[in-house]
């Protein structure tokens, strides 16, 4: 039925963690390694979890798939496609070896994020190996579940600092019948921002938006009738889809020689970055700058409007990757980290000092 390997290395991983914990060591959890650049770099014993692979349960009519974390993202997406289903959050791969565990731990979502939801919104349950060497399960395999605190969704974006994700259950959605990309001219970022947010007040079947170099692109997804009707009403010109290239950061805009900065702002924010070359997606919420930038200045601008700035890739080593947290919040998050990993063995300092 599928080519996904069935290999269960839970026992080996557990004994590995227990022995590291016993000797006061530290480990770096590696899935596919494709997103290792994301976060502060570390020096710790690499533990490869990509060998922990296999489909635990997938019944398309339940809209839920349960997987071992080492499954390759590309193989899982191919399996879902066979059943005309997909991940709603359109995860980036950044390479063929990307794993499901790395996807959940990095929490990175693609162009559909603003319209369909993020990984957090689709995770239903996890099985994790914590810093005590205990295997615990949280959440479940059903869509609605409020028993206990929602630890499974806390794992999303935790970058392996809370434990090894062994298995995860994810809600999937049906693939769309059809998709269409439309192009519109907007000569400034703010014009795009206003336009795309105004469109939001009508129930158009929009599944992605992009603005770069004076041009707005819109992706419509849904039933043939719904998409055709929307396309007639919205106008614009039919354009080549470039959504995979956007997701994988392979558009010309993403210059490999320059530092890449992610700016997250409330989507309708204007008057802040209007004259700076940038790429805007997620209806205005996610903006990319690919150039040398003044991170502290951007951070204070973002804080003023309720946003944040991530020094995503290729920044100087002494720049804090993630937006600093207020001291009380950092303290709270460190205590959460310790509750899972008291000795601090997992990916120490990946997100912040002590986290």
């Amino acid at each position: 039925m599928n080519s996904i390997d069935e290999v269960d290395i839970e026992a080996e991983l557990t004994s590995q963690i227990i022995s590291v914990a016993a000797t006061g060591g530290e480990i770096e959890i590696i899935g596919g390694g494709s997103k290792r650049f994301y976060g502060q770099s570390l020096e710790a014993l690499p533990v490869d979890v990509s060998g922990h692979s296999g489909i635990i349960d997938y019944d398309p009519a339940e809209l839920v798939i349960t997987l071992r974390a080492g499954c390759k993202l590309s193989e899982v997406e191919a399996l879902l496609a066979e059943h005309r289903q997909m991940f709603g959050f359109e995860p980036p791969c950044y390479g063929r070896d990307a794993t499901i565990g790395g996807m959940v731990a990095s929490g990175l979502a693609g162009p559909r994020r603003a319209f369909a939801g993020g990984i957090r919104d689709f995770v239903l349950g996890v099985k994790i190996l914590d810093g005590h060497g205990e295997i615990n399960q949280f959440g479940g395999r059903v869509i609605k579940n409020v028993a206990g605190f929602d630890v499974s969704r806390l794992m999303v974006g935790s970058l392996g600092t809370l434990g090894v994700i062994l298995e995860v259950s994810i809600r999937v959605i049906p693939s769309y019948e059809t998709e269409l990309t439309l192009a519109f001219e907007h000569d400034s970022a703010d014009k795009h921002i206003r336009w795309i947010n105004e469109l939001g007040s009508e129930p158009w079947p929009i599944s992605a938006s992009l603005w770069v170099a004076g041009r707005s692109l819109l992706r419509l997804s849904g039933s043939v009738q719904g998409v055709q009707y929307a396309a007639q009403q919205l106008g614009g010109e039919t354009a080549e889809p470039c959504w995979d290239e956007l997701k994988e950061q392979a558009l010309d805009f993403f210059d490999d020689a320059q530092p890449l900065t992610r700016i997250s702002l409330p989507p309708a924010t204007t008057d802040q970055l209007d004259d700076i070359p940038q790429l805007i997606e997620w209806g205005g919420a996610q903006r990319w700058l690919c150039a040398e930038v003044d991170i502290p200045a951007l951070r204070s601008m973002a804080e003023g409007v309720g946003g944040s700035v991530c020094a995503f890739r290729r920044h100087a080593a002494d720049v804090a990757v993630f937006h600093p947290l207020p001291p009380a919040m950092l303290k709270l998050q460190r205590s959460i980290k310790s509750s899972f990993d008291p000795a601090g063995i997992f990916n120490p300092g990946r997100i912040y000092p002590g986290l």
Binding site: R120, L154, Q225, G226, C310, L332
Partner: protein
């Protein structure tokens, strides 16, 4: 509770709360004795009704100093006893913090105080063509603060998500009286994502004092079709067939024969009272989309063995179709002196097995059960009919309820889909979660509330509680379902 301690504390709170916002008279305190799960009652020491965030902070500082347990309360519609008062503590009612602070049309969001009623948000933004999607059946009464604390769902959550999916930012007051905020308007939060921990935390991690909700454009068109079935299994299979076809209905609800009869008696929606099950399926979107999909759904229902399908002709009839389902709880309340609502969730494919299990248990206990079911997401609401005036019947009902929940766990489900654990399902938590998992929950609670004053005794059972539960329920060293797969 000694009257003098109550008086002394009331005076302390009246130093910064208006006199009428400190309730200390036993007759008035009785109003707050229970929530929607009226089988549990407890008079609190005091009820406090702050009018702003500053006052909530002051209340928390006094409670810290006096080591007073604090039970937050919205509208008190919880069905799990989550808002049940603590004998030695205060009830912190957010009911007077009920203003809509800001509506931002361009950003499609509203900033509201926690005591704003769920439906009041949609009413306030209707003229802008917007609404707030989660629609619990209690939406006329329940508050957004209570919805956040319970991660409330509704009949439209298969397509539009639960409370969690429709919240952009939260402001909370910690047990120490400090404000902390989670702001995800930008769809990103560096560091850990605490929103999912806080949503559904049943008032144990912080007091919700401000909520920023997402608003959606009102769909252009909504149509409803009803399928009538002579067996519950066929109805269940039809749900699977619709979803396998790639259709996500805006809502898809099932009722069994006893529920159909009760609802029909109450609202006269012209429901087929002889049917074993009905499915009510709503589709929304643009007119073109809905018309093409509803035809397909009707065909799938017929292929699935529906003896009849009915398409609501107009908006009035659409609302009529829904009226029976939305009034199912009060309708059952009319045919029985008392009813007890269960909230288990199961993988849909287990529906027939679970429903026949429920039937067998219902016979064993001699108590009737009517079933309503959020069929799209597997959330089952068996309503057990009983009479609390009959000696021992409540206990028997609770035991039956517990058996039904364990059956749900056994079939790969969970003990609560949307009503929360509260005080009601503490025992079943011991079955669903292992000791180390429950320890992790306690550890998380201590990160937020080291003093353990926020809603103590709810949601997460102690070790002792589980030992007691297991002693009662483990027979000859075996749990009721030894092959139980907890995930």
């Amino acid at each position: 509770m000694s009257q003098t301690r109550r008086e002394k504390l009331a005076a302390k709170f009246r130093e910064f709360l208006a006199p009428e916002n400190v309730v200390d008279q036993p007759t008035s305190l009785n109003t707050y004795e229970s929530d929607g799960l009226s089988a549990y009652r407890q008079q609190p020491l005091l009820v406090l009704l702050p009018e702003n965030i500053e006052q909530v902070q002051q209340v928390m500082r006094v409670c810290q100093e006096q080591r007073l347990p604090v039970v937050s309360r919205g509208a008190g519609t919880s069905l799990s006893g989550g808002a049940l008062p603590h004998a030695e503590g205060v009830v912190l009612s957010l009911a007077k913090m009920n203003r809509i602070l800001e509506v931002d049309q361009l950003s499609r969001l509203a900033v509201v105080e926690p005591g704003v009623r769920n439906l009041a948000i949609s009413e306030a933004v209707k003229s802008l063509g917007l609404y707030y999607a989660p629609d619990p059946s209690s939406q006329i009464a329940c508050t957004i603060g209570g919805n956040v604390a319970e991660n409330a769902g509704g009949v439209h959550c298969l397509k539009y998500g639960l409370t969690l999916h429709n919240i952009l930012a939260l402001k909370l007051v910690s047990s120490e009286g400090e404000i902390f905020e989670i702001d995800q308007r930008s769809l990103q939060s560096d560091g850990y994502d605490l929103l999912p921990l806080l949503v559904g935390s049943e008032g144990m991690l912080g007091i919700v004092v401000e909520v920023t909700v997402k608003l959606l454009p009102i769909p252009r068109c909504a149509r409803v079709v009803m399928g009538v079935f002579d067996s519950v299994e066929k109805a269940g299979d039809s749900v699977a067939a619709i979803i396998a076809e790639g259709i996500i209905p805006a809502g898809i609800e099932m009722m069994d024969n006893p529920a159909i009869r009760a609802a029909e008696d109450f609202v006269h929606a012209d429901y087929p009272v002889e049917a074993e099950a009905i499915l009510i399926c709503e589709l929304d979107g643009t007119e073109e989309e809905v018309l093409s999909q509803i035809e397909l759904v009707e065909k799938l229902l017929k292929n699935g063995g529906a003896t009849e399908t009915r398409l609501a002709r107009d908006e009035a009839e659409r609302l009529l179709f829904w009226s029976g389902r939305k009034a199912a709880f009060p309708a059952v309340g009319r045919i029985s002196p008392d009813y007890y609502c269960i909230d288990g969730t199961i993988p849909r494919k287990a529906l027939s097995a679970v429903l026949s299990g429920v039937r067998a248990l219902s016979e064993e206990y001699g108590l009737s059960v009517a079933n309503v079911f959020h069929a799209g997401d597997g959330n089952l609401h068996p309503l057990i009919l009983y009479d609390a005036n009959n000696e021992g019947e409540l206990e028997k009902t609770e035991e039956l309820g517990s058996k039904i929940l364990q059956l749900c766990i056994h079939h790969g489900g969970t003990i609560t889909g949307e009503h929360g654990v509260g005080v009601e399902k503490l025992g079943e938590m011991c079955v669903q979660f292992s000791e180390t998992e429950r320890e992790q929950f306690h550890a998380i609670r201590e990160c937020f509330d080291p003093s353990k004053l926020l809603n103590p005794g709810k949601a997460i059972p102690t070790l002792a509680r589980c030992a007691e539960f297991n002693a009662m329920h483990v027979h000859e060293g075996k749990l009721p379902f030894p092959e139980l797969d907890r995930f």
